[in-house]
């Protein structure tokens, strides 16, 4: 059993997928935030297995783990804490930008002024773009989770190819959890998306995790920055799919497909670029 828990595929795929699916199935009748708590539990278990249950030394990666967990708690409590949509829309970008500063501030401060400006422009632009595009699909479960699943899958595979299995596994564990929720929703769920009220804060778990892990893979590892551009287009691509079927399976399939194609294409491209740099490893 212990040997299984040490294996990356169990840590970041099998365990979060089944844990999220089971928890979502169990909680969906109790709370509309079932998907959030399912993701929270799955990510907590995965991150503990991948990173060890420790926050010291408080590296950028560990800050990301804490922030993703905090964003999930906030998303779960937001409908009760901040009921005004306007307040949520204002709070989401501010919280995300503060998170960016906390994770990358120390490293960015050591960079040259041009790099700082590029990071600020790129990082802030990425966050605002993801918040806006996820907000547009937050009312539609299949699009919302399909985009979250695809974006995190692409981010995770690309980060792994760019020499950080740790960042990659964190993103993949969230993707697997999101996939588990999506499958449970397809099989026998009911509409449980974040809904209008918690739209902005409700999108934070996907936005924050994808943006932080993607930017960390660029800054701390060597993911080419331009790989984030097609990945960032995933929520928009998902929103453009014209299919609106009564069958959940087809909804989930067709709405996830454009994002999956982009995610896999970017991952293969980064993988090939990295493979051409050196011999196999």
């Amino acid at each position: 059993m212990e040997q299984l828990l040490d294996r990356p595929e169990f840590q970041s795929a099998v365990i979060p997928f089944f844990l999220a699916m089971l928890l979502y199935s169990g909680l969906k009748k109790i709370t509309a935030s079932a998907w959030i708590w399912a993701l929270f539990a799955a990510f907590l278990v995965s991150a503990s297995l991948i990173n060890g249950f420790t926050v010291t030394p408080l590296t950028g990666t560990r800050k990301i783990i804490l922030l993703v967990l905090a964003s999930l708690i906030l998303a779960g409590l937001a409908p009760y804490l901040i009921q005004q949509v306007k307040m949520q829309r204002a709070a989401a970008p501010i919280l995300t930008l503060l998170a960016l500063l906390w994770v990358f501030g120390k490293v960015v401060a050591r960079m040259e002024i041009t790099a700082i400006v590029l990071f600020l422009a790129g990082g802030v632009g990425l966050v605002l773009w993801l918040l806006w595009t996820f907000d547009r699909i937050a009312h539609d479960d299949s699009r919302f989770h399909g985009a979250g699943f695809s974006l995190l899958l692409g981010t995770g595979l690309s980060a792994t190819a760019a020499a950080s299995a740790l960042l990659g596994q964190l993103a993949l564990s969230l993707a697997a959890a999101s996939g588990g929720v999506l499958l449970a929703w397809v099989l026998r769920g009911k509409a449980t998306g974040p809904g209008r009220v918690s739209a902005s804060i409700g999108t934070l778990p996907y936005v924050l995790s994808a943006a932080l892990i993607g930017l960390a893979a660029v800054i701390f590892a060597r993911l080419p920055w331009y790989a984030l551009i097609p990945l960032a287009a995933i929520p928009l691509a998902t929103s453009l799919v014209p299919v609106k079927s009564d069958a959940r399976f087809f909804n989930a399939l067709f709405n996830s497909l454009p994002g999956l194609i982009i995610a896999l294409a970017v991952s293969v491209w980064v993988w090939q670029a990295e493979s051409s740099n050196s011999s196999g490893y």
Partner: protein
């Protein structure tokens, strides 16, 4: 006048013997290398290509101290892709923590020779005490530069998870064997 010189010599001499000579580490003849178990099959070896530092050493007064700074990004295991992985957040996280340092805090002499140096090793911003066994020392005049030079060979072991380098445990070894071969010229 002669008496004044004699008195001055008597005063200065003990002070000189208490002050250890200062040396600067010669990066071209200093090797910080390591070995770690790989999946239980083999031992993976590597080294760092850039390091700097200084030391104070005086055999007569039994004084020794050393400071070494290692550029984490200069890790070299003979495999570029593995080196990129080793400097990523999975292991050394070199963008956030570009420098590994060792600062000695105590030196142990067996009466005649320096046998070990204890100090704080800092990796990922975490400092832990580490003792390096000194296997050999040679000090003398460099045949070409005519400078006073000292060479040291020291070894030690650390547990990488003590420093928060947890990735890949237990498949990739927990214990990292260190070897430091250092040459330094007197300032």
């Amino acid at each position: 006048m002669k008496n004044a010189i004699l008195i001055a010599s008597l005063v200065i001499l003990p002070v000189n013997t208490l002050l250890a000579a200062s040396y600067t580490v010669d990066p071209g003849h200093t090797y910080v290398s390591f070995a770690i178990n790989h999946l239980g099959f083999s031992t993976m070896r590597g080294k760092f290509d850039k390091q700097s530092g200084s030391l104070e050493y005086d055999h007569a007064s039994k004084k020794a101290s050393v400071t070494i700074e290692i550029d984490a990004t200069s890790i070299d295991t003979g495999h570029d892709k593995r080196d990129q992985h080793l400097i990523s957040p999975d292991f050394l996280n070199a963008v956030e923590h570009p420098t590994i340092t060792f600062k000695s805090t105590a030196a142990d002499w067996n009466g005649v020779n320096l046998v070990s140096v204890t100090g704080n090793l800092t990796i990922l911003g975490v400092s832990k005490p580490v003792t390096l066994q000194v296997n050999s020392i040679k000090c003398g005049e460099h045949p070409f530069s005519k400078k006073q030079v000292c060479g040291f060979d020291a070894t030690g072991s650390i547990k990488r998870n003590d420093f928060g380098v947890n990735y890949g445990l237990p498949a990739i070894g927990e214990v990292l064997d260190l070897q430091i071969e250092l040459e330094a010229s007197m300032n």
